[in-house]
Symmetry: C2
Subunit: 142 residues, 2 copies
Amino acid sequence: MGLTEAYRGGRVSPQRELIADTADRLGRAFTVDELCGAVREKRENVGVATVYRAVGALEGSGWLARVGERDGSVLYARCVRDAHHHHLVCTGCGTVAYIECPLDAGALNTAAGHGFEVTRHEIVLYGTCAACRSSSQMAGDD
Amino acid sequence: MGLTEAYRGGRVSPQRELIADTADRLGRAFTVDELCGAVREKRENVGVATVYRAVGALEGSGWLARVGERDGSVLYARCVRDAHHHHLVCTGCGTVAYIECPLDAGALNTAAGHGFEVTRHEIVLYGTCAACRSSSQMAGDD
DNA sequence: TTTACTGCAAATCCTTTGCAGTCTG
DNA sequence: CAGACTGCAAAGGATTTGCAGTAAA
């Protein structure tokens, strides 16, 4: 997916190019504020509103995905995979992994049994990645 | 579970009794603001902060559960079932149904394969209940 | 009597919006 | 050129916090 599609046919300003590039390089889940901070390391004076608007567009095209929240802020992550899937987020470092959708016929049948027609679902798994577990062991905070 | 346990051993004031009773009677998912409005129909001058604090306590004991969000506000619902489960929320009227946890060995193995140790997960299914579907058909907004 | 709970108001904090100016397409 | 994007600042909205007073235990 090119940046033009990522921005849903909108214009690709230098700021938007930098924002997408930065999000991509982060390689982990981030809040808009964190992304904004990272962007400003390369170019100062990028407004928060600009980042919020860019993230909104990137989310709309599926280039970014919401992967839960942290301390009241929405967490986003670069979403490369095409097929339907969900995310596994390390609460320590934000590393993200993909997982298959665990919803099976059983779950949907249960919903249908209740008279529900499922239109949308949100699934996020939080955990600790191997690196964070070993570093916390070394620090003794287990 | 009695109210004392629901409030985690805290004090049970008339306000807290009313708040729990109102949440129970609502019988659907609600935001703190909605709950506060319903509570005030019975007793005015109940502060929002009081409701927020009560809901926080009720959530901590498992008497209430977060079941997603709507328009930027957290959605809560009375949680009766003991065993681990998740919720199905009608986006029309807020009706809630329980569903079994769809996470199976496969999903957890995938996580383990990525080096992750899953500590927590959030699953919410949104949809429309039979009543809302039929009423929207009658209204012609299908 | 102790101290948790209450109501009110102020404070936080994330996110959105309004505007005038700039720059992409 | 038109209008989409930008930076700044103000607005908005949900939730939290500070405080003095009240009341559960």
